[in-house]
Symmetry: D2
Subunit: 356 residues, 4 copies
């Protein structure tokens, strides 16, 4: 960190800064320029609060040189982290596709979608049982009944399940049913929840908040990692900007930026990122081309009747067509789309019987 | 709501929209234009999900005409809501000033600040015992010990206390000590927490998220109101924009906009809004001039040593000077700064003894 | 357009709106709801100023249903517009790559780069002779001397030239040398300049401003088109958001959105869009995967010594490697990278002699 | 400036940076930390291009310590700059109010408005003869005929005139009629135009672009100042954010920030800043409370019929009422509203005769 003193800062003020830094075991290197004195601080700064220095008399501003997250930084881990979810590897050479409905609405809807996305080549099933909704008057999700339906779909199809956990009180409950815990965008900085999922031993997919900076996303991952859970993946799902032609601005740049700054796998969510079915195809192809480790996509057997997010959900046949395109793009960047592991074949019941 | 069909939408598609709307008891008025057919929906639309219609075949987009919140809207309440906090009225003709440290750090710090802000004219004491912090390595607050210190300060000075509640599990605990529950910006859309504070009978101050739209803030207030708690005040505390000269962009426009759209009292937080001590004075004066019902300000006996937000905290003497200026501005807009009610005099101990 | 009256608007106010609309030849359809009266306006609305209605007594707001641009809209043109630049077709099935230095700095620099990008497969040469710079103390470009160098490079290599025009006074001058006129992001809404390039008969590439909405970009294209120049292409080059990990937020979503809303060819500029060399590769691949008709890329023989934008310029060998990757991606989406037309072979001098 | 080397940067890379800096006469101070080497550059850095260093091998990033503008910075000028416009002083202890219609539409409209705002206490007349409009199909202003009307209004009322200049070619023409040249938000970075108005000897009011950073606004002012025109005032008029409840987000924080960073007078434009008549009153009061040196306000005798910006224009009587409120606020912050100088009384014709 560098502390920049104001032009005309007094020697007393400069000394106060130096003493304060040295009091916490940091060595200091003052440089006396024509207009400013600048003090470089060298040592372990993770516990230093910049605002303390910003607020000291005679200080103009401070400049961070090292990032304040450690465990999430690419420098802390040799190579990339890979996460094994029932034999599906996220963060490796293969690109994983997670797909399913936005909300769990009924047993039939989930089972039909699960079988369809499995046949098209998805290897993880998504679906929400607890739904954060903008309006208190909207459908709020099926709760535990929804989790049971997801578990049944997993049993039938062999697809591991990712689903959102919204509150500390339901972490244990969701852990009983889910293979990956999703932290939604609105909860990116819900520190109590981050702390709680840091204590469990399930993979976590942490979504970037709609106004989350990339470095804040990494700091939030650090909350989970520093509590002991090393299986964290990061998800770009669109940010809020002035542009209204899309529901959000899907910030695909975050994919290569995160790949560079961190060792954690990076997931792209073009469904929420764009909010429009027509854009999900092009932006999914773009996400694989940009280097995403996984995609998470909303698919519904009848999107016009979906309880939530129908406008951004793919029809089953659109999803199948997209999977074919993604295989070509993955090949063009030297990767392939992950396929279901041999061992994960579901309970052996045929689809037709299951859906009967 | 108006549903705009695509140019060339078929009669079947148009009929499907009409039938779907009428199925939920809404009457429809189709208008056949040269390029588009437009269908106006008339009736109670609060439970209609626009995205359902957006996703239907042949639909180009939908346009909202009535706002989806009801209880928070100015039309739902004659005149303004006023909230009585131990005799201090928020939302009336007087402007209320809440002041105190960002974090509770020690008994001495809180008592010294409480007496000082009381003497300068504040009528509510602020202070955080549970602190949401960006870094897991930063000071996270004193917890219940901090709440006890705030309660002691109230007993001595007679100032009611506002403090943040961050999790559902601690709502009851915070209610034991606080006079106003604060929901922080990061939790604006933490629906579980909004639900929980909607069930208690304490006033709540709901802060706008850093990427919260004004109408979203009102929808979040609706979560609390629709759970039965009518004592809600709204707080502008800065939004995230591209501008970096200030920590946030304090959106003072929200004050008159909220006064127009809602009957709930409006609080301004220039400390977090600007993030810089030098700007707190001008923007506090501006907030009163723009019509805020209350201000919440960070004050610290030694900001350079504050555990959090030192850079935006006023010194005790700066706060006293500002109070004088605010009285003049309040007078210029036909209001005055609220004074401590006769009945609320604290426990009668003199300040000197209390601090000894 | 729909005019929404306030609850309680009087019959006189409603009649005034109806009469005003009908006075300009628009037919009106009032709908009387429980809370609001809504008036639908049907007819040619391109010359109607919404703010006039917004400001009328009793009006709550107005809602646009048709877009205000006509010539730029996809509905105005059968299929896509293609632009022929010396035999290179932009907007067709092939993806065109434009490449070259940010600024023209010297004859050697331009010729070396031109030959290198030609050999790697680019078919259009970019380079700036007039440079808009944030600081008045920075290098402002070589002016006409720079244009002459670009023309010489075209003569040698046969590559058509795209270069920026910044002022109305220099439109004629730049037309003498350039094959495509570039309007930079800062000038997107410089209406005098748009008017001037609308009068010439050269293709124009219009860049989106850093705070330009997509619909504003189309309105600016409308300025050029309505002055008679039909050869307009649109360029996404990054927008300003709160995120600072990238210089701008390259809004790749704009590519499929523009393809849907307009018939004009869409160009992506990942160099300015991201501002960082490491990100140009992934985002170029993503842009082709998302459906861009062309890329414009900054390439420099020695980026560390570039007068401008060195940090985002590719080295010559990086560019050649990227071209190979782009061919694979183009193939994966059923397109190919455009190759130089037979007729455009330059002046026949061998590269070695030219550079000697 | 500080250059931060990557962890593991080689001695050769570090030396290259040092040599490059010293080659342009800047002295260097390398500091060798545990993870990074950091090189402080001391000396005159205004002509150094940071991106050159950013792009060098082994460099992680660079950090600016001194601002790149000099003439606009508060450090370059003792006290504040004051600008004398026909005896009206902008930047002194009095707050100046400029008022008038958005567009010049007719002689009657301008004269009626000019007399009304003069009587209410405005001391400068605003009005646009050249109008930048989003749509090519909207009213584009009366041009020189409009300038003549403004000049006649000045002659009658004695109010100096501020009007926008949009192009380099019309700078001389506008100078013939105007007392202050306005550079509009869309042209903040139109460097050709900034250069041109830097060469004339008329005061210039430079508006912040809707996505202009405060430091960019100061750099644009630097373009004018460095060309020799020292009479520059800065105007906040709203920025583009995600919030849509207001047309723009009027960033009032910019007023105290600019007062601190620069010696140039600061003007606030709540009409464009908010885009809504109801908000102009509260935000005008707030702007004076926050320390603005002047306000510029849109006033129209019949806003419902205005050719542009009717929705944000005050009625004549609203403006008169607001002036009374502003006098009270100015008094509360120790200032007053400027009154017309004795010498500037117009041509002595009585208003009634003039308007007959």
């Amino acid at each position: 960190m560098v502390v920049v003193m104001k032009p005309g800062a007094s020697a007393v003020e400069t000394t106060a800064v130096i003493e304060r830094a040295e009091a916490v075991g940091v060595s200091t290197h003052p440089i006396y320029g024509k207009e400013h004195t600048v003090i470089a601080l060298i040592g372990d700064l993770t516990k230093i609060d910049r605002s303390v220095f910003n607020a000291m008399a005679g200080v103009q501003n401070t400049v961070r040189i090292q990032e304040p997250y450690k465990l999430a930084a690419s420098t802390s881990h040799p190579g990339k982290t890979t996460i094994d979810v029932g034999g599906v590897i996220i963060g490796g050479s293969e690109v994983v596709v997670m797909a399913g409905p936005c909300s769990v609405e009924s047993r039939e809807q989930v089972l039909e979608t699960a079988w369809a996305v499995k046949e098209a080549g998805a290897t993880i099933l998504r679906g929400g049982a607890f739904k954060p909704r903008t309006s208190p008057y909207s459908f709020q999700g099926m709760g535990e009944a929804g989790l049971k339906i997801l578990a049944e779909a997993r049993e039938q199809t062999g697809l591991p399940v990712i689903t959102e956990v919204m509150t500390v009180e339901t972490v244990d409950l969701v852990c009983e049913y889910a293979d990956i815990l999703q932290i939604g965008a609105r909860n990116m900085q819900n520190y109590g929840l981050l702390h709680a999922v840091g204590k469990v031993r399930k993979p976590v997919m942490l979504k970037r908040g709609i106004s989350g900076e990339i470095k804040e996303l990494l700091m939030c991952a650090e909350y989970i990692l520093s509590n002991g859970n090393t299986q964290v993946m990061l998800c770009e799902r669109g940010i809020r900007t002035y542009e209204t032609a899309t529901r959000n601005t899907f910030d695909l740049n975050a994919v290569p930026v995160l790949q560079k700054m961190s060792h954690l796998p990076v997931v792209a969510d073009p469904s929420h990122g764009t909010g429009a079915r027509d854009l999900v195809g092009p932006m999914s192809r773009a996400a694989v081309a940009a280097g995403a480790d996984a995609l998470i996509l909303e698919v519904h057997p009848d999107p016009d009747k979906a309880e939530s997010d129908g406008a951004q959900s793919l029809h089953l046949d659109q999803f199948a067509e997209l999977m074919g395109q993604l295989r070509l793009i993955a090949g063009a960047v030297g990767r392939s789309i992950a396929t279901q592991p041999e061992a994960a074949v579901g309970n052996g019941r045929v689809k037709e019987a299951a859906l009967a």
